[in-house]
Symmetry: C2
Subunit: 358 residues, 2 copies
Amino acid sequence: MASYRITLLAGDGIGPEITAIAVKLLERVAQQFNFQLDFDHQPVGGDAIEKFGEPLPASTLAACKASDAVLLAAIGAPKYDNLPRQQRPESGLLALRAGLDLFANLRPVAIVPALIDASSLRPEVISGVDLLVVRELTGGIYFGQPKGRVQLENGEERGFNTMTYSSSEVDRIAKVAFDLARQRRGVLCSVDKANVLDVSQLWRDRVNEMAGAYPDVNLSHMYVDNAAMQLVRQPRQFDVLLTSNLFGDILSDEAAMLTGSIGMLPSASLGSSGPGLFEPVHGSAPDIAGQDLANPLAMVLSAAMMLRIGLKQDAAALALENAVSAVLEQGFRTGDLMADGCTKLACSAMGEELLRAL
Amino acid sequence: MASYRITLLAGDGIGPEITAIAVKLLERVAQQFNFQLDFDHQPVGGDAIEKFGEPLPASTLAACKASDAVLLAAIGAPKYDNLPRQQRPESGLLALRAGLDLFANLRPVAIVPALIDASSLRPEVISGVDLLVVRELTGGIYFGQPKGRVQLENGEERGFNTMTYSSSEVDRIAKVAFDLARQRRGVLCSVDKANVLDVSQLWRDRVNEMAGAYPDVNLSHMYVDNAAMQLVRQPRQFDVLLTSNLFGDILSDEAAMLTGSIGMLPSASLGSSGPGLFEPVHGSAPDIAGQDLANPLAMVLSAAMMLRIGLKQDAAALALENAVSAVLEQGFRTGDLMADGCTKLACSAMGEELLRAL
Ligand SMILES: CC(C)[C@H](C(=O)O)[C@@H](O)C(=O)O
Ligand SMILES: CC(C)[C@H](C(=O)O)[C@@H](O)C(=O)O
C-alpha cells in the first residue's frame, strides 16, 4: 500500500480549524482509495514565533524537506505587524518558498456556477472564467540583491530593491507555463513591463525563444497594466497567465477576487524536485479565528491539489473536489458565501457535510 | 486679457482627431470666458520619430517648458514595437515626464451615471465610485539605477532594474496626496508592499511621519496585492489612493477599467513648478485611427483639467465638463460606449454636439 508523509502547517488564525477538517477528509479518502497518509504537524508563522521565536524554525523546514508534500493553511496575525520584517510570519513563508526551492506557483481561478452571484462582476462577464496564473515564486524583486536602506550625505534616506531574473530562472518557469498551457486550452499570455524594464525585456526574449518548442501553444505578451485592465474587462480571454513574482502577486489576487469567492481558491507551489507546498489563496482571517465561522473549502481543494499534483492520487483528488461541488449544490454555505435560499453552516458543520458527501 | 501658451502634442493614432476637437472647444470657451490661448503644435512619439528620428526632439521639450500647459493626446503605434526601447514612442513620454519633472500623476476615476452599464461590474458595486489615484511619476523602478543586462560567466544572461525612492521623493508625492485628500472626503490609502520590500517600508515610514501634519485626513496603508483585490471587491471604499510609479501604473489602469468607459478618463501630471501635462488615460487606438470613430470625451475632459489645474480658469473648465455631461444625457455616444436607445456619433459629430452644448 502506497504511503506518504505529509507535513501539516496549520499556522495562524483560522488555520487550525480548516486544517482539522482537511485532515479528516484526507484520512477518509486515503481509506477509500487504499493509500496511507502519515501526518506531521509543524509550527510556522506566528505559531512558530510563539514556540520558537522565529517564523520558520529549522526543524519545520527539515520536516518539510523530508516529506512527500506540505499542506499549509494560513499565516499572519495583527500582533506581529510592527515587528521588524525578518521576524514577521510572512518572512517564514518566504523562507519556506526559498528553502524548498518552490519556484512555480500555480493559482487556478475558475468560476463555480453555484457561486456566480458572489462576484462583483456581471454574471455574463464572469461566467465560464477558467484561468491559471503561473507565478514565478523564488526570484524577482522578492529576493533580488542588493536591497536595503542607506543614509545619504544630505541627511536623506534611500530605500532600494532589485528586480532581477537570470535566463535560466525565466526558462524554468516559462517551461512550466508552456507545459500547462498545452494540457489546457493551449493559450499562454506572458505578462511583463518590457516597454519600461530591462528585466522584463529579458523575460520576454526568453519566453519568445521557448515558443519555438511549443508550436501548438498560442503565445502572446501583455503589459502588466493592460493585464490588470483586461482581467476586469474580459477575464474569459485568458487561459494561462505567466508572470514574474511581483506581477503575479498582484494579478493573481486581482484574478482571485473576480470570482468573489476567494474562500474557494487553492494553490500549489512546486520545485523541480522535492515536495510541493499546497495552500489556500485566502489569509488567516484573524477577525473570525476560533469562532467556527471559517470557510474550509479552499483548504479542502488545496488538499485535492496536493493529492493530484503532489501524490498522483487523481481519483482521491477528484473525490474531494466532487464532495465540494456536492455540498455547494445542496445549498450549504459558510457565512462568507451566504445567499438567499441557502443553508448557513459553521466551519465544522461544513466539514461534516463534506464527509457525508464523500 | 489673460493669455496662455499651450503646447499641443497630438502624437499618434487617434491623437490628431481628438486634438482637433479639443482645440475647437478650447477656442470657444476662451472666447466665452474672455481669455486667450496660443496653441503651438509639436511632434512627440511616433510622429516625432518620423519627422526627427527620435520620440522626444529637444525642440518639443523646449516648447513644452516655455508654455503654460501641455495637452497631449496619445502616442504609440505597432510599427515601433520592435525598435530598441529607447527609440520607441513610449520613451518619449518617459523623457517628457522626466524633462518637465512631472512627479505627480493624478488620475480621477468617477462613475458617470449615464454610463454605468458600460462597466463589467455590477451596478450596485460600481455606482457612486469616485476615487483619485495619485501616482508618483518620475521615480521608482521606472528610473532607478543601476539597470541593464549582463552576460554571466556561465553563459547565462541577467536582467535587472532598481526600485528606489529617497525620503524627499516620497515626501513630495505624499504631500500632494494628503492635500488632495483634504480637499475631497479626507480618506487616504497609501499602497505599498512593505511586508516584502525595503523601499516600500521607507515609503510607509515617510507617509506615517507626514500624517501628523494632517490630523483631519484618515490615513491607512494597504499592500498592493490587496489593493488590486479591493478595487474589484468594493471600489467605493477608496477616496485617494497614493502609489509609487509601478504600483500606480497597474492600479490606475485597473481602477480606470472598473468604469468600463476608459474613453472618458482624463489625467494630469504635475511638477513643483513649470507647466503641467494633461492627457487622456486611453491610448492611441491605432486600429481605429483616421476613421472618425474615436471617442473625444476623455481628451475634452483632459482639456478641462488643464483649464482648472493648469490655468486656474475654473469657470471655463466647468463649461467643458457640463458640455460633456449634456451630450451624454442627450444620449449621444461614440461607438465604444454605444448602448440601446442611444444615438451613435462619429468623432467629429460628437465634436459638433459638444460645441452646440457649450
Ligand atoms: C504574505 C506575502 C509575503 C505573500 C507574497 O507577497 O507572496 C502573499 O501575498 C502571497 O501572495 O502569497
Ligand atoms: C506607455 C507607458 C510607458 C506608460 C507607463 O507605464 O507609465 C503608460 O502605461 C502610462 O501609464 O502612462
